[in-house]
């Protein structure tokens, strides 16, 4: 990951007057999808880059050591070796960016990745994921335990109540405390955008999170009714850019929830390139939170290399 975001004092003045025009954002989202495309080798290369940005995720009630173990091995070998070899990409260290699990499964993931002999970080959701309706005290404790168990990245989720009631100082204060609890672990801040009421709130919450020291801002838990949509992403990356222009600190962006197709992944990469530039196309500043996305990317790569459409059983499952 890149240099940490030290955060800033809370500066409400700079965001109080911001108004995001939703129709304009939606039009921009449509334009990004229709105006840019990558084909052939470019598509394959971009998809491989997308793979390296994936936080390969399982967040289910029925997670057990065995499926966590499988997930970790898939993280290390996201694309079939022979397919990578055909593109001369087998020795380029293509793995996913991280695996992402619940706090109670961090230890399983750390163990599995160690066994697989790789240095892929484990990310843990925390702070009463997904609803964040647990006491602050237990939220902080949850972070500390996950870090103790070996999580190097913590995906905290913000308190939507504070946003919807306009308590920006309270929000800043909470996230700031989360950040301290994270210690050396990088903090991704999930906004739960589907529950924030407006794009203007999405922008403001993004800015407050970054001021409070978020290393990444992330769209959704994947459990809200509306997750990572392109308009939300546009607003959040604009906030990332504005924060960078203001402070010189680069904060990463992670769309998560509902990203399933290789085409979706390309669209998100295009958005990052257009709005923030090439620097934000690497895992230190860009992540895709996804569970089934990888399977579709691998199938597209299979098709690119072989000219045939793959059956799901042609490719190892996560």
């Amino acid at each position: 990951m890149s240099a940490r975001n030290p955060g800033t004092e809370l500066d409400l003045g700079s965001i109080s007057r911001v108004q995001v025009n939703q129709p304009a954002v939606i039009r921009h989202a449509e334009q990004i999808q229709s105006r840019r495309t990558v084909k052939k080798d470019w598509q394959a290369a971009w998809l491989l880059r997308a793979v390296t940005c994936i936080d390969l995720t399982t967040l289910s009630g029925d997670d057990t050591p065995s499926n966590i173990h499988r997930l970790c091995y898939k993280a290390k070998h996201p694309i079939r070796e022979d397919l990578l070899r055909a593109m001369n990409m087998h020795d380029k260290g293509i793995t996913t960016a991280a695996v992402c699990v619940y706090p109670a499964r961090v230890a399983d993931a750390v163990k599995a990745l160690k066994a697989a002999g790789c240095n892929i970080p484990v990310a843990s959701v925390a702070t009463g994921f997904p609803a964040a309706q647990t006491p602050l005290k237990t939220k902080l404790e949850e972070i500390r335990i996950a870090v103790e168990d070996g999580a190097r990245e913590i995906d905290i989720v913000i308190n939507r109540t504070l946003v919807l009631t306009g308590q920006w100082e309270g929000l800043y204060e909470e996230i700031h405390q989360f950040r301290q609890a994270c210690g050396d672990a990088h903090m991704k801040t999930i906004l739960g955008t589907g529950e924030l009421g407006s794009l203007t709130n999405v922008y403001k919450a993004s800015m407050v999170a970054m001021m409070a020291g978020a290393d990444f801002i992330k769209t959704s838990t994947g459990k809200e009714a509306v997750n990572a949509t392109l308009p939300v992403g546009i607003v959040m990356v604009r906030a990332v850019r504005d924060f960078y222009w203001k402070t010189g600190n680069k904060v990463g962006f992670k769309p998560a929830g509902g990203i399933r197709s290789a085409k979706d992944a390309l669209t998100w990469l295009i958005l990052m390139k257009e709005e923030l530039g090439d620097e934000w196309l690497k895992p230190d500043l860009f992540r895709l939170g996804a569970s089934t996305l990888l399977a579709d990317i691998e199938r597209q790569i299979y098709h690119h290399v072989t000219g045939r459409y793959a059956a799901y059983h042609d490719l190892p499952m996560a």
């Binding site: 129709p23 304009a24 084909k39 080798d41 394959a44 290369a45 971009w46 593109m87 955008t193 009421g197």
Partner: protein, 825 residues
Amino acid sequence: MAGAAGGRPSVWDIYSSMEYGPAPEGAGPAQAWLETHGRSFGHFVAGKWWKPEGRETASDTNPATGELLATTLQGEPEDVEAAVQAATKAFEAWSRLPCHARARHLHNMARTIQKHQRLLALLESLDTGKPIGEVRDRDAPLVVRHFYHHAGWAQLMGTEMGGWKPLGVVAAVVTWNSPLLPLAWKICPALAMGNTMVLLPPPRARLSALLLAELGAQAGLPPGVLNVLTGEGALAGGLAAHPGVDAVAVAGSVEVGRSLRRATAGGGPRLSLQLGGDTLAIVFDSADLDGAAVGLSDAVSCQRGLAPGPGALLLVQEAVAGALLQRLKMRLGQLRVGDPLDKAMDGGALADEAQRGAIETYVEEARAEGAEIFQAWAALPARGPFYPPTLITGVASTSRCVREEILGPVLVVLPFRTAKEAVVLGNHRPSGLAASVWTENLPLAMEVAQSLQVGTVWINGQNFFDAAAGVGGTKESGNGRDGGKEGLYEYVRPSWQSRPRPGPTELDYKTFAASYGADPPSVPGHSGVACPELEENMPRVDRTYKLYYGGAQKRPEGMASLPVLDPAGNVLAYVADGSAKDIRNAVEAAHKAAPGWGKRAAHTRAQVLYYVAENLELRREEVASRLGALTGAPPEEARREVDLGLERLFHWAACCDKSGGVMQETPLHGTTLRLCQPLGVVGVACPDEHPLLSFLSLLAPAVARGNAVVVVPSPRYPLPALDLCQIFDTSDVPGGVVNIVTGNRDHLSRTLVQHQDVQAMWYFGSPQGSQFVEWASAGNLKRTWVSHGAPRRWEDPAQGAGEEFLYQATQCKNIWIPMGEIFAN
């Protein structure tokens, strides 16, 4: 396979650089169509390809590569004759078809075009250098939409356009570089209303018109309904002035508009002008600046605007200028300009090197004046007629790049301080095409949208188009409208009217009605000169008619009078002999009054007109007897004229609050409003017939719809108008709304029509005067409505108070207001 030789980047290279790659669209279908025609095209006349002997040919090339696409004919004047004849012949049957049959034809054409949309898009992109993505995603679907929408108007003509009939043969002259959409703008309403057409596509991009004609034939359009001639621009004048052409619809430059206005003056065809002018963008400190920056970069890169070219004049509120420019520069740097057939390009090729050179001249001139120039060179291909997206800041409003339209991807930036200043700066231009207004402040957005003198306003957006909302401009951008119901009126005439055929005469425009005091002198001692009558040994007080402007009686600047004779030839009274200076004063007074009057609540305007009627009724007998004395009309007839005048006042008072606009059903998520706004100051030259009724019939609609008028009453019968001044004064008509200047009609009309700040001229006089008015209106391209010397029956409501008057008294503005804030949960 990846990593191949020959300079192609390997997957690893791309993985490392994360560059975009090429995404070419195969031109196969377009090339195949060209091959099918042997890459050699004739005219398309009477449903067939037609290659008259001995014509020269012109090469149609791909501007991006210089590759030859096909050769087309350089039409000659005889070809015009044949095409007009074919269209005239076809008109017979086409105009008589039942509405439903024409609706089927247009519907079938929409279907046929839709089936070949890809071919049409590829051909237009190849021929014009416009990016394929833009043509494919925006232009071509819009063309199809126009045909479907107008198939609907064809179906509904009988019910929705009662009282109107087709014009006849419409010539469409398109000179814009990208003709596909403008062609559809013209073809659809013209055909839907039962006209037949001759198209003249731009000399440099002729192919889409030819394809459209062929598709029309394939769709079963009767031969001769849609004809295409190709040739150089010079052909346009001959086509427009051809006596068989009943209307000329133009999409071209201001200069083309002017020359066609002059070429058709006095000939009787209708002229619908869709001219140039750059887009205006106003960004307020309350705007979503990122939204604005995206919209503006779109306006810079795309040739899809209303205007013939991309680019815009950007007014930005000083407080946010820095923040906006920072965002804009970032966006312009992200734009991709290059191979028009690449699906991922924002900008394509210019028409040619000459266009590139012209843009460069403007930019370099601005640089020499000390302007700061930002250009996104990175995006540009090494060769070909391309120009980088450019931002010019630090210029003054006197600079040429601000005053003139640059046909290129250039955004010129001017700062402003207040909303009031923004509107003034925005309107302080000879053109008035379209504007985008960026603010999250709704009251501000709506006020600015109302105040801008343009045909289209987009709130927080840019370049929204749809067949259901007319496009067109104001001032030098031409006042034609294409699309929506408002666009239909360009292609119809009132049912009672036949096409005026005055036969243009040789008129010396320099001297026509130029001299003041040309009328017979009114020297004392002249036979029949009246002296005040004696009544019971007391002389009656001398009544001197003066001019009436600014709400007061004024003596003429020339200090001279003209006699008004009764039917027996005796002098009945003297009226002021108005001169150019009086017109100047009256126009000034009208301008003072017009903005306030236009903003008055419709109800208030109606009340004023009712009050005029009320006061006229009080003096009914007196006005009627004076009218009788003047014209010799028997008392019954005179009284009837007064009564009809009263009815006219009631009619237009009633219309005050019922025709201000409607909501247009466009696909926009939000609201598209059509406002029917006043024109400003309208010059009116009244006819001699029914002097009271015609005066009121012309004055009332103009005033009802919020215009201020400068009226030249009938020179022969000026008294009824002057008698009404007292009534205006006592009926709360604000000073300056109605101004009356008596004198020589043609001389005064000459001054009015040559006045750059008169927005429209209505002339009901001689054929020569009509011809002059049309010719001289080319100066500021004001709207004209002339009689060509043909009388009308003012007492007939269809002729004296039809929808035509409403059309002439207003101009349409479409305001696009997107909506949306509700989000997710």
